[in-house]
């Protein structure tokens, strides 16, 4: 198993480097550069000003040189310097990463727990009104744009009812500590996490339902039933456990994208996470920062793929490790 993990990590590093090179060129194909954007924000800028910025950022160098310097940095685990924020990229990302992991982690847990629960219920009561209700609700949450759900949630729970805060990570200036702080952050977390969670929940519920219905027609379920096991035990031990494999696959894929996938939600809720950082870096053509976020997100995707494979194995012991 250890050699399996080592081999996978070695492969991941190669993939990561290839991604860095590809992203490097992709980003630079977009029109505009950070020097002009920064001059634009200043509302004035003579040629000297723009030339100074370009020189400072190394943008006056030929592209291959820029790429070489960047890759050299990456290899020594240096993500470079953000043009606009005047800070090391790694510091900017590390500052924001916990907020994103908290948000998307919570959303992930909510969506997985509720998705499997509702999916199992829908399968158990397939064809009844409960099944229809769950299926329709799942479809609605899946089809509605996230930002719209977010805005409606704000309108209902913040503006109209005044139950939950509409933006931010904590109450600024309140100076809460200990439990009060935890509760404060939790209150801010509810709306954005639920917004993302509902979207993913829908896919898990659909997947669980379909998969369970399929498994429940298999022979070993019939055998279990013939043995006289109770229906609940059959559903939980025989059907659900086997039906979860495709859900784990899907969850593994989505867990990777959750890191960078919260751009809209983080923007609407002013959540100080990495998704927003990436979006702003894009708008400002802050190449190093944008690449840095991509690298971190890619690394996360690769890591989650590895974790998924390990989870597979514990869910279904028949699967063996092979790199």
């Amino acid at each position: 198993m250890i050699s399996f993990i080592a081999q996978r990590i070695a492969k991941a590093i190669v993939v990561l480097l290839a991604l860095v090179v590809m992203n490097f060129f992709l980003i630079r194909m977009a029109p505009g550069d950070p020097a002009v954007v920064m001059a634009g924000e200043a509302g004035a800028g003579d040629q000297l000003f723009i030339a100074q910025l370009r020189e400072k950022f190394g943008l006056d160098q030929p592209l291959p040189v820029q790429l070489f310097l960047y890759v050299k940095g990456i290899v020594s685990l240096d993500l470079g310097f953000s043009f606009r924020q005047q800070m090391p990229v790694s510091k900017l990302i590390l500052d924001r990463l916990p907020a994103t992991l908290l948000l998307t982690g919570t959303a992930f847990a909510i969506s997985l727990a509720l998705g499997i629960l509702f999916g199992a219920l829908a399968a158990r009561f397939a064809g009844t009104w409960a099944d229809t209700a769950i299926t329709v609700a799942a479809l609605i949450f899946y089809a509605t744009p996230l930002f719209w759900v977010a805005l409606m949630a704000i309108l209902l729970f913040s503006v109209t009812m005044d139950w939950l805060p509409s933006f931010g990570y904590e109450t600024v200036g309140a100076g809460y500590t200990g439990l009060a702080h935890v509760l404060d952050v939790a209150a801010h977390l509810i709306l954005p996490a639920t917004t993302i969670g509902l979207f993913f929940m829908a896919t898990y519920a659909r997947m669980t339902r379909a998969s369970m219905l399929e498994v429940s027609r298999l022979d070993f379920v019939k055998t279990a039933r013939a043995k006289g096991l109770s229906d609940t035990v059959i559903q939980r031990r025989h059907v659900l456990r086997n039906a979860l494999l495709p859900v784990v696959t899907l969850a593994g894929l989505q867990a990777g994208t959750l890191v960078g996938g919260a751009v809209l939600t983080e923007t609407v809720f002013a959540w100080p996470g990495i998704g927003r950082l990436m979006y702003e870096a894009l708008l400002q053509r802050d190449y190093n920062l944008l690449l840095g976020v991509f690298v971190v997100c890619s690394a996360m995707v690769l890591a989650f793929n590895l974790i998924t494979d390990l989870v597979y194995r514990s869910v279904d012991p028949r699967i063996e490790f092979a790199a």
Binding site: G32, L151, V172, T267
Partner: protein, 517 residues
């Protein structure tokens, strides 16, 4: 209402207002404001973008401030005098001023700031071209000597244009990488305390501020909220008290203005006077033809744009200068909405239905809608317009490389035609690679000479004459299609008093503001 009643109510109003004045400002309280986008840095000498100026205007100070009429007011200089020949400016500094770290502020800091800004501040560099030397005869006197009289010189000392930089922190260091850039130190009414990137910036009262009894407010929180709708909601739910101009989409302004305890003002933009126009490519295509450009002016219904897109805020621009800045004249040719006249001019210009590429300004919904409206106006008179979608960096690049036919923009005017107007029309400012110069490529030797003379003419009456002439010629030539003098409304709780007192509005800091309890 009878005459007497009117008189009485007027008297009552006067009494009420004196009563309010007598109450006076109260000390204490916290203000929550919105900042958008998040500033890259608060070191005002290095970074001059809008959000930086808005927050750091509380931390740093300039030698002067400016009234809404753009008359100079004391800032770090308590008095000043200009020599008879208009070449020597002598400033007396306020005594006993200290930096936030306790070190005294002296004339040496002023000399250092000038050198610092010449290296780092594009606009200051331009403003200081006429400067021959600057000297400090003693600790609290600074003397600027110019090569020749330069009328706008008295207007360049505002905090965003010439902020004072602490010599003891920056001398002998690499300015751009000095770690102190992350903890800005100024002389202003508020001190930097905390910055949670992506969330908020916190400033606290400077207890040793040099104006006695000020500031009144204890703390300011600037909240970073990236989504415009979320910013409206933050105000509606009472989480923030101040939405500086441009914080929310314009179509949200009427709704927010109707909320209880809400005050809206368009004041505080006099110094910047954001002036919007369409950059017309004067080099090639139909827009190279003067008759075609005049036709555009007649074809666009600017009144409707003002009423519908901008909710009635702002003024129709009559020419290159805004009405709030010096030497403005309204005695210029008029272009009222007249589609028939536009069609006639189009015919005369020989326009044959060529397709024109129009670039909206990618600054949000308001600008998008405005562009759609103008496209409709142009299509109505038979002009074939294609809208090009870009993001901000893409827009910057297309405009800087003259890759467009019609492009929306707006520029600040900085109170004087020599500072913020001329740059868009003189030939020496035609240079690829920057979106803040003569992008349209208009070139007229007569205009070049008028702007060159206007900057250094002496006394002011001579300048007035020159600029009146320049405005007349430009409006006749229509190098760009002037649209509106923009006004970005500042929305506040009415309990926040005295927030905007000068011509640079919120950017001048919260030094005079106070909260009614």
């Amino acid at each position: 209402m009878s005459k007497r009643k009117i008189l009485m109510s007027f008297a009552a109003m006067c009494m009420l207002s004196t009563a309010a004045v007598a109450e006076g400002p109260k000390a204490g309280g916290v203000v929550n404001a919105v900042i958008q986008p998040e500033p890259p840095s608060l070191m005002m000498g290095l970074v001059q973008n809008g959000p930086t100026q808005m927050v750091a205007g509380n931390i740093y100070e300039g030698l002067l401030r400016y009234s809404p009429k753009l008359d100079p007011l004391p800032g770090l200089a308590e008095s000043w005098s200009i020599s008879e020949d208009g070449k020597v400016y002598t400033f007396k500094l306020v005594k006993g001023v200290t930096w936030h770290d306790g070190k005294p502020f002296t004339s040496a800091d002023v000399l250092f700031s000038i050198e610092f800004l010449k290296q780092t501040h594009a606009r200051a560099r331009g403003n200081l071209v006429q400067l021959e030397k600057v000297e400090a005869p003693d600790e609290s006197t600074v003397v600027f000597t110019l090569k020749q009289p330069f009328g706008p010189f008295i207007g360049i000392f505002e905090v965003g244009s010439l902020p004072m930089i602490p010599k003891h922190i920056y001398e002998g260091t690499d300015f751009k990488t000095n770690p102190a850039n992350n903890t800005p130190v100024g002389t202003g009414p508020f001190m930097f305390r905390e910055w949670q990137k992506g969330s908020f910036i916190r400033l606290v009262k400077n207890p040793n501020y040099h104006v006695k009894g000020k500031p009144n407010i204890d703390e300011i929180y600037w909240h970073v909220i990236p989504d415009a709708a979320a910013r409206s909601v933050a105000y509606e739910t009472g989480k923030v008290d101040v939405l500086p101009g441009g914080s929310v989409e314009n179509f949200d302004v009427p709704r927010l203005s109707k909320l209880k305890n809400t005050c809206v003002t368009g004041a505080g933009w006099e110094f910047f006077s954001p002036h919007s126009w369409l950059w017309l490519n004067n080099r090639s295509g139909p827009t190279a033809n003067k008759k075609f450009r005049q036709a555009l002016m007649f074809a666009i219904d600017r009144n409707m744009a003002k009423d519908v897109v901008w909710n009635g805020l702002g003024r129709i621009a009559t020419g290159p200068s805004g009405s709030a800045i010096k030497y403005y004249t309204s005695a210029v040719p008029k272009y009222d909405y007249d589609p028939a006249k536009a069609k006639a001019l189009l015919k005369e210009s020989g326009y044959k239905g060529e397709k024109l590429r129009m670039l909206p300004l990618p600054y949000g919904e308001t600008w998008q809608r405005w562009a759609e409206m103008v496209r409709q106006n142009l299509q109505d008179v038979g002009i074939n317009v294609e809208m090009i979608a870009t993001d901000v960096p893409g827009w910057n690049q297309k405009v800087s490389e003259w890759d467009y036919d019609i492009a929306f923009t707006y520029l600040y005017q900085y109170g004087d035609p020599a500072l913020g107007v001329g740059r868009n029309y003189v030939s020496s400012q035609i240079a690829k690679g920057s979106p803040f110069n003569n992008v349209e490529g208009y070139s007229n030797p007569e205009i070049d000479k008028l702007f060159a003379d206007g900057a250094v003419a002496f006394p002011d009456s001579a300048r007035e004459e020159i600029y009146a002439k320049a405005q007349k010629i430009l409006v006749e030539d229509v190098p760009v299609a002037w649209m509106l003098e923009l006004q970005f409304p500042t929305i506040t709780r009415c309990s926040v008093k005295n927030l905007i007192t000068t011509g640079i509005g919120v950017n001048d800091g919260f030094r005079d503001a106070w909260i009614e309890k």
